[in-house]
C-alpha cells in the first residue's frame, strides 16, 4: 500500500489533540474571566472549570508530544481509515451537515422532505415520485406527531413563518 491511499493515524491524533487544545483554551479563558480563586464564600464560578481546562490542555499536549516523538518511527504506517472508506463516510456526513444547516433556513420539516427524497434518489436509486412521496409522508407524520400531538415546537425557519404556521 502506497502512502497517500489512507489517512494516517498520526495526523488524526494531532488534529483531534489540536481541537482539544482549542476547547481547553476556551474553558480556561472564560474561567479566568469569571474568577478561578477560592473566594470568601466558597469556590468562584471558574474554580472547577479552570482545573478541568488545565487537565484537558495537559492531556492534549501529552498526546501531541507523544505523537511527535513517535513520528519518524511510525512513518505513517498506522491507518486511521482507507481513502475509499473515508469517502463513504463523507457521503453521509456532508449531506447531514447540509441538512442541519438547511433546518435554520427551511425549517426541519421541509428540510427533511428534501433530505430523505434526495438520499432515496441518489443512494437508493428510487424513482423521483416514490422518493418525494416517502419524504413528504414521513415529514407529515413527524409534523402531526410533534406539533399537533405532543405540541413540541421544532425549528421551522422562515418558510413556515411565510406560510403562516
Amino acid at each position: 500500500m502506497k502512502t497517500g491511499e489512507h489517512l494516517q493515524m498520526r495526523w488524526m491524533e494531532l488534529l483531534v489533540a489540536a481541537c482539544f487544545v482549542g476547547v481547553s483554551l476556551l474553558v480556561i479563558t472564560d474561567s479566568l474571566r469569571v474568577g478561578n480563586a477560592w473566594g470568601s464564600d466558597g469556590p468562584e464560578p471558574g474554580y472547577f472549570p479552570f482545573f478541568i481546562g488545565c487537565l484537558l490542555l495537559g492531556g492534549a499536549s501529552w498526546v501531541i508530544v507523544q505523537t511527535l516523538l513517535a513520528w519518524k518511527q511510525d512513518d505513517g504506517k498506522e491507518v486511521f481509515a482507507e481513502k475509499h472508506e473515508f469517502n463513504l463516510m463523507l457521503l453521509m456526513l456532508l449531506p447531514t451537515a447540509a441538512f442541519t444547516a438547511a433546518i435554520f433556513v427551511l425549517g426541519i420539516y421541509v428540510a427533511s422532505v428534501v433530505f430523505i427524497a434526495a438520499f432515496m434518489v441518489w443512494q437508493g436509486k428510487y424513482s423521483y415520485f416514490k422518493s418525494i412521496a416517502v419524504g413528504s409522508g414521513i415529514s407529515a407524520a413527524l409534523f402531526v406527531l410533534f406539533e399537533v400531538w405532543f405540541m413540541l415546537p421544532l425549528p421551522k425557519g422562515f418558510i413556515h413563518t411565510w406560510l403562516g404556521y
Binding site: 482539544f20 481547553s24 464560578p45 484537558l56 498526546v63 457521503l91
Partner: protein, 349 residues
C-alpha cells in the same frame, strides 16, 4: 417478605394491558436495533426517547427497558447467523455461536442464547430486588464526602478498565465535565462559558450530547465499514427449542458462574462487554474440554450471553440506588428517569 411483596406489586403494575403492549413494542424495536449493526442499546434508547415523551414515567421506563433487553438479544442474533456482533457485548458470542451456525446448529445456538439471556436477566432482577433496599439504606447515610468518593472511584475505574491510553480516557472525561460546566453556575448564579450565546444559558442538553456521540458517530462508522451481509439460515422449530432445553440443565455450573460474574460486573461499573468476555474466559479455563471452545461449544454461547444480560440488568442497581449508571445504556436511562422522577437512594427507600 417485604421484598417479595414489592416484587409482586411491581409485576402487577407491569402486567397491565397497556404496559404489556409497550413491552411488545419495546422488545420489537429493541431487537430491530440490536440486529442493525452500529445501532447499540445506548443509541437505540437515545434515538427512541421521543416516543416516550407522552407516556407516564412507569410506562416509559418499561418500554425503554424492553428496548434495552431487545437490543441486548438482537446483538446475539447477528453474532450467531452472520458472525457480525451487533453490539460490543455479543462479540464473545460469535466465538462459538458462528461455528455452531456453520455446522448447521444455528437453531440450537439461538435457543441457547435466548434461554441464557433470560436466566441471566432473571437472576439479576432477583438480585436487584433483594439487594437494592440494603444498598439504598446504606446509601442514605451517604453525605457529600462519600458521594464524592464513589464518583471518584467510578471515574478512576473508567480509566483503569479502558483499553485506550489513560490520557485519552481522561481527556474524554474532562471534555464531558467541561460541557456540563457550561451555562448557569448553580452556586453563584454566574454565567460561564456561554460566550454570549443565549441558547447556552441552560448548558448542553444531555440527550443532544448522547445522540451526537453515540448515534451519529456509529452511523458514520457503519457507513465507513460498508454494509455487507452473508448469513446462515436461522429457522427455529419447536423441536429444536425443546431439544436444546433438555440439554441446557447439564450446563448449570457454567450458567451460575456466568450469573455471578455478570452481577458483579454490572454492579461495579464494568458493564456487559467485559462481563461477557470474562465469563467466556472463565468457562473456557474451567471446562473439561477447553479445546472445543471456538469450534462450536454450546457453553461458549451460554457463558457470555448469561453474563452480558446479568450485567446489563444489574447495572440498574447502582443507577437506581446511588444514581451512578453501570453501563452507557443505563446512563441514557438515568437521563430519562431524571426527567420524570428522582433517582438516588430515596427512590428505593
Amino acid at each position: 417478605m417485604d421484598e417479595i411483596n414489592n416484587l409482586f406489586q411491581g409485576f402487577a403494575v407491569a402486567l397491565t394491558l397497556p404496559n404489556i403492549g409497550f413491552m411488545f413494542i419495546g422488545i420489537f424495536l429493541g431487537v430491530l436495533i440490536g440486529v442493525l449493526p452500529g445501532l447499540g442499546g445506548a443509541n437505540g434508547v437515545a434515538i427512541l426517547l421521543p416516543l416516550t415523551f407522552g407516556m407516564s414515567p412507569t410506562s416509559a421506563i418499561i418500554m425503554l427497558s424492553c428496548i434495552y433487553w431487545g437490543a441486548l438479544f438482537g446483538g446475539a442474533i447477528t453474532s450467531i447467523l452472520f458472525n457480525i456482533p451487533g453490539e460490543p457485548w455479543s462479540v464473545a458470542t460469535t466465538f462459538d455461536g458462528y461455528p455452531m451456525a456453520q455446522k448447521g446448529k444455528a437453531a440450537k445456538a439461538l435457543t441457547a442464547a435466548f434461554t441464557s439471556s433470560f436466566v441471566g436477566a432473571f437472576v439479576a432482577v432477583l438480585m436487584v430486588t433483594f439487594l437494592a433496599p440494603v444498598v439504598a439504606k446504606f446509601a442514605l447515610n451517604f453525605g457529600p464526602p462519600e458521594f464524592f468518593a464513589v464518583q471518584l472511584l467510578t471515574f478512576a475505574s473508567f480509566i483503569g478498565m479502558s483499553k485506550e491510553p489513560p490520557v485519552k480516557t481522561l481527556m474524554a472525561m474532562m471534555l464531558g465535565f467541561a460541557l456540563a460546566a457550561v451555562g448557569l453556575d448553580s452556586v453563584t448564579g454566574t454565567l460561564r462559558m456561554t460566550y454570549g450565546q443565549e441558547s447556552l444559558l441552560k448548558g448542553f442538553d444531555f440527550l443532544i450530547a448522547v445522540i451526537g456521540l453515540f448515534g451519529i458517530g456509529e452511523i458514520l462508522l457503519t457507513m465507513e465499514e460498508g454494509l455487507a451481509f452473508k448469513g446462515h439460515k436461522g429457522r427455529i422449530s419447536l423441536k429444536d427449542v425443546l431439544d436444546t432445553w433438555k440439554e441446557l440443565p447439564k450446563h448449570w455450573a457454567t450458567s451460575l458462574r456466568a450469573c455471578l460474574i455478570g452481577c458483579w460486573m454490572g454492579v461495579t461499573p464494568g458493564g456487559a462487554t467485559p462481563a461477557s468476555f470474562m465469563s467466556y474466559g472463565t468457562a473456557k479455563r474451567i471446562s473439561k474440554h477447553p479445546e472445543e471452545f471456538g469450534k462450536g461449544a454450546i457453553e461458549g454461547v451460554i457463558a457470555p450471553e448469561t453474563a452480558a444480560h446479568a450485567a446489563g440488568t444489574s447495572a440498574l442497581l447502582p443507577m437506581l440506588t446511588l444514581g451512578i449508571p453501570g453501563s452507557p445504556t443505563a446512563a441514557v436511562l438515568l437521563g430519562v428517569v431524571d426527567m420524570g422522577t428522582a433517582t438516588g437512594p430515596l427512590v428505593v427507600h
